[in-house]
Symmetry: C2
Subunit: 201 residues, 2 copies
DNA sequence: CGCTCTTGACAGAACGTTCAATCAAGTGTA
DNA sequence: TACACTTGATTGAACGTTCTGTCAAGAGCG
């Protein structure tokens, strides 16, 4: 294995770029080869059996970017005034990373039409995040820091409150036109959420 | 022709079906012709100059389905306990309509990669909904029914709380696995939202 | 007849993929 | 050192298919 160039990696990077920009159908073997600086598209078939496999390998190797979305069991006992803003910040800032942006675009674009791809995203990110939030809410109810309520609903609600802001970064710039910053939104949203769930006195 | 068939409409319907299922690139003129029951794909070019135009016409004629998302100025003065659940119900039930589902899938699928399409969706739906909610929240603050706060944030938060539930219907069935119904979610979410924003006493 | 609509056939391009040939760099042998 | 041989990597050309879009020739109706 001569360390001159990592062809496989080159191809994966270029394919990631092309797929995320043009979609599976839109990106062509030739355009990927071009982006990777290859002389011939045929070379791709030395490293990958076909386009479909190349696509799945791209997903497989680039998805760790999204796993960064946190799921830290250590936070379970910390108070929500502290934990929720942290999670919200980590979550929203994930989408400032261009690679993560492209990854979401890539997966979402295909997920519309290919359930298997939707499933990958759902398991890698959504299930994790919602699952953690449900556990966290349940624990905080136990501790008496939140009033009893349906945690399935509050988990959705909390992560949902952040979605339009994330959507503004990723797909719909219109949303950002009113100039609301992440920090402002987090402050207001968390405040509403917490006041809405604080124990009755 | 003895049969009074609306060829144009047939083609638009079939194209809508195919585009929403396979995307712009994935749907072919031939498959659209097949779905429309045409003998020859060439017929499509009698009614539409090219594939791109056909696609835009599909968007143009089918988008009213989404305009149904309400924006009723008449609700401005009604109390939030009444208005918010109504809006939430109307909003979530929109995605029970298969045609609307396909429309969202179609637009979202293309919006990932074509900003003009994202813009159409943004103007037709997002801007309207967020705009109305901001006005409504502002008015309710004026009336003293909600405590003063940043309405840009609360508008996002309210509609966002519903998004995961909508996402479960449209793209990520995993979300629905915990069995939370629309009605249950609306009740909890609206309750949290209102308690979180009720005027200080 | 003229006009609108419909047809099958087809051109030209682009697609994913295959293939035989080539190259640079070892490896084994004498 | 010289030479034959192997190996992994790379190439350009070509294959068969499929795509969008075109065309000339009709069919049915007023």
């Amino acid at each position: 294995m001569p360390e001159e160039v990592d062809r496989r990696g080159q191809i994966l990077d270029a394919a990631f770029e092309e797929f995320s920009e043009k979609g599976f159908k839109g990106a062509t073997i030739k355009s990927i080869a071009g982006a990777a600086g290859l002389q011939s598209p045929a070379l791709i078939y030395w490293y990958f059996p076909d386009k479909e496999t190349l696509f799945r390998e791209v997903l497989g190797t680039k998805i760790p970017v999204l796993r960064a979305v946190r799921d830290p069991a250590g936070l379970l006992d910390l108070p929500p005034e502290e934990v929720l803003p942290t999670i919200a910040r980590g979550y929203l800032s994930t989408f400032d990373n261009p690679a993560a942006q492209r990854m979401v675009r890539l997966i979402m674009g295909e997920a519309m039409r290919r359930p298997e791809i939707a499933e990958i995203f759902a398991s890698a990110v959504i299930k994790r995040v919602l699952g953690f939030l449900k556990s966290y809410m349940a624990r905080q109810i136990e501790l008496g820091r939140l009033r009893p309520h349906d945690v399935r609903s509050s988990a959705r609600a909390f992560i949902g409150m952040l979605l339009p802001q994330a959507g503004g970064k990723l797909f719909f710039p219109v949303i950002r036109e009113d100039g609301l910053t992440d920090e402002e939104h987090i402050e207001t949203a968390v405040d509403v959420f917490l006041k809405g769930l604080r124990p009755e006195s």
